[in-house]
């Protein structure tokens, strides 16, 4: 096992026509530049025109649990390629 684990980063993405950066998840990387590259590969599958922020998870300050309200929204738009040319006949039912 590696003695030194890569730190955890939180990833925020603003889509090409988006208004804000949204939290999409986290990943491990040895530094900020690689975190950006990994984020591009993992969370955008290299789509163009997206803006990526990465922050070391340890740097995030969260509100106290007694305050209600989700800190992180569920990811809204899919960022992975979805071949949608599958023709599933209606008789087969929902898939």
């Amino acid at each position: 096992m590696s003695k030194k684990e890569w730190p955890l980063w939180e990833v925020f993405i603003r889509g090409q026509h988006g208004l804000n950066h949204r939290h999409v998840g986290s990943l491990h990387a040895p530094d900020a530049e690689m975190a950006i590259n990994h984020a591009r590969d993992v969370y955008t599958r290299r789509k163009e025109g997206v803006s990526i922020w990465v922050v070391p998870s340890a740097q995030i300050t969260a509100s106290a649990p007694s305050e209600k309200g989700a800190l992180f929204d569920p990811a809204e738009s899919k960022v992975y390629r979805h071949p949608t040319f599958y023709d599933i006949p209606d008789e087969v039912g929902h898939m």
């Binding site: 890569w6 690689m34 590259n37 990994h38 590969d41 290299r46 163009e48």
Partner: protein, 257 residues
């Protein structure tokens, strides 16, 4: 067999070189899926493989159109034997460790990127169109592979040793990318493709800078020891690659998948 117009045959062969490089390198890269050193890298390598396979489809489709014998991209990928493949030997070499894989990719990416950039100005609009689509992805591939070469070269003693070993092993294969033959000359004369010597100059600049930053030593050996891939004379590795890749189509001729 009706002999094609020489220009068409030449263009066809040249397009196969582009498609075959993309397919074979994409195929090799895809071997890592599920076996990468870290999850994020597994995903990144798969992206690279997907990009390259996408490129080969574009080149093969155009090649088949030029050939005019109603072959499809799949026919070209799955029904030619090694002697008909025109990729450079560099891309068919085994993955080895991640060092060998990344170094191989970097050395090819630097060439591929410069070539595609030049091709966006091709006198053939279809070639220019494909190049324009592909070059963005290859720019990212080069960014990534060169960055990893630097990081691993200037990492630990062991990562440095492995990158140097990879460089030493692969160096004698890089020259082939720039050895121009009659096909390359004809394409350059037609303005469809650049002179390989120009691409080589640009490649040299990228490679020199990157190796220096990576604290790696440029091998003191001829880079063009191993050639012939573009003419269909390959290493022993390609036969095995194709046997695996083409098995289903060969075992079940005519079946649809």
């Amino acid at each position: 067999m009706v002999a094609l117009d020489l220009d068409r045959q030449t263009l066809f062969d040249w397009l196969l070189r582009l498609g075959d490089n993309a397919l074979i390198l994409g195929h090799r890269t895809s071997e890592w899926c599920g076996h990468g050193p870290v999850l994020e890298e597994d995903i990144a390598l798969a992206n690279t493989a997907l990009d390259l396979i996408g490129h080969c489809q574009m080149w093969y489709t155009l090649a088949a159109e030029i050939e005019g014998k109603a072959r499809t991209a799949d026919n070209l990928a799955y029904l030619r034997d090694a002697i008909q493949f025109k990729n450079v030997k560099l891309v068919e070499l085994p993955n080895g460790d991640m060092g060998q894989t990344i170094m191989r990719e970097f050395l090819f990416d630097a060439f591929h990127f410069e070539l595609l950039t030049a091709l966006t100005g091709s006198t053939d609009p279809k070639v220019a169109e494909i190049a324009a689509k592909a070059v963005k992805e290859v720019a990212y591939q080069l960014d990534r592979s060169s960055d990893l070469v630097v990081r691993l070269g200037d990492g630990t003693e062991e990562s440095h040793r492995r990158m140097q070993a990879a460089l030493d092993y692969l160096w004698p294969y890089v020259g082939e990318m720039f050895v121009a033959d009659a096909t390359d000359d004809a394409l350059a004369e037609a303005g469809i493709a650049p002179r390989l010597a120009e691409i080589q100059t640009k490649w040299e600049a990228i490679v020199t800078d990157t190796l220096e930053e990576a604290t790696l030593t440029r091998p003191d050996r001829r880079p063009d020891v191993h050639t012939g891939g573009k003419q269909g004379r390959h290493t022993e590795h390609l036969g095995y690659i194709l046997a695996e890749m083409q098995f289903l189509q060969r075992a079940y001729p005519g079946a649809e998948w």
